[in-house]
Symmetry: C2
Subunit: 241 residues, 2 copies
DNA sequence: TGCTATTTGTGCGTATGTATT
DNA sequence: AAATACATACGCACAAATAGC
């Protein structure tokens, strides 16, 4: 029953402990592959396994030709109110950009199901990318049933704001009655890793928000957020009684 | 400037596409290391890199002696209301257990800072583990200032419920006025991976909830949730006008 | 029970490419 | 141009878990 812990786990956990203890601080360089070989008397591949494990845990980032460095979760705090409005907070100094691409497309099976449409069907689509300091932080795919509502043209506001959607529908006489939200997290796909330049070991937070007008779903937002940059924060007042 | 895509990325993305297309379904076995060698004319280590990449993306799980299988995100839907109450939904059939360990400990620097205490200080601690079908799904560390409130002894309710905390403080004359929540996601630590038996490529969702009575923080909950099992869901009614 | 074949896990050695300094 | 460091890749050996006989 002797369960021996593999060397690459032992070494990785030791470095991990140094990071947790503050002996290695964000930005610090950790020993390179050759150094690990000598320090712990392990082979090159095991040294690589150590670094790979730490990378996967999101503790370090590696740069070819330079080395591996303790990761920096440089969080940009955001505020969510009432499960609806997402707006940045405490980061007015950094330059934010928001790009919006509008189109009208055939609904995929998936989207048709979510919007309760029978195929084939056309829907309006908005692809929004929120960039902060040249880093894409958040990508939103927003789909709406084709009604007579004005198009989505408010790049100055945050696309995650449900209030905007609600107001726009209200302006054409469609009252959004409920907003449902599913929040989860997963590892990014290859495509997302490429698009958002996400380092290894960084998950994405996903929010799927569905707007209902009565029983019919009228709009759906799929929000994908880099978890190492964005913190979803909320504050709620409690009434006595 | 020729940027060649590495073989292990090419092969992994091809299998990833098969999973996305539904050609490989959850539970299906993917080609083994030796098979990948032959199929794509690659070496053993590259075949391993392919599998490692897919594992890291949370798309497959590997079992020694059996093979690698398409992962199954077997979500247990949960409901969050008003950012306070977390309760399970749609899963009354599965057997849930909740273990609670109560203690009184010295506050760590971290906790002391969050609760605005000056060291040394004693705090009451509750370590709660929510298990579902023998799988630990959620671990909560809950700290409270030492007041005269009754101890936390309600294993029948979900420890994430802020209302419970609020009521208990109210019963001793301390009115909780605000609840702050920070939600994020990250890869699990080695310890968490071991404790909760989390497979590779599965992040955890973290919720840090702080209860304030006026300006003083009185309780803090640190909730850690397996992201492949739990979905945080909310529903909100919109009032017209 | 024991044996064997299969499959992944761990580990070693080596060579070459590419980015950085 | 040279040194350094990570990235990709090949080949090999043995351990450990699994499944079938």
């Amino acid at each position: 029953m002797m369960s021996v812990t593999p060397m690459y786990v032992v070494v990785a956990d030791r470095i991990s402990a140094q990071i947790a203890a503050g002996e290695l601080r964000p930005g610090d360089r950790i020993p390179g592959e050759r150094e690990l070989e000598e320090l712990y008397k392990i082979s090159r591949n095991v040294a690589r396994a150590v670094i790979s494990r730490l990378r996967q845990q999101g503790l370090i980032v590696s740069r070819q030709g330079k080395g591996s460095f303790v990761a920096n979760r440089d969080l940009i705090r955001r505020l969510v109110r009432n499960g609806q409005e997402f707006r940045p907070a405490d980061n007015t100094e950094v330059d934010q950009t928001l790009t919006v691409e509008l189109s009208e497309v055939d609904a995929s099976n998936d989207i048709a199901w979510c919007l309760d449409l029978s195929l084939p069907a056309r829907v309006s689509k908005a692809l929004m990318t929120w960039t902060i300091g040249n880093e894409p932080i958040e990508v939103t795919e927003h789909y709406e049933r084709l009604l007579d509502q004005p198009p989505i043209t408010r790049p100055e506001t945050n696309p995650m704001n449900a209030p905007d959607v609600i107001k726009r529908f209200a302006s054409i006489g469609t009252q959004v009655t409920t907003v449902e939200e599913d929040t989860s997290a997963r590892m990014p796909t290859s495509e997302e890793t490429h698009q958002m330049a996400i380092p290894q070991g960084v998950p994405v937070i996903t929010v799927e928000r569905t707007h209902h007008a009565g029983d019919t779903p009228v709009a759906i937002s799929r929000i994908t957020i880099r978890a190492d940059r964005v913190l979803i924060s909320s504050k709620q007042d409690i009434s006595a009684g």
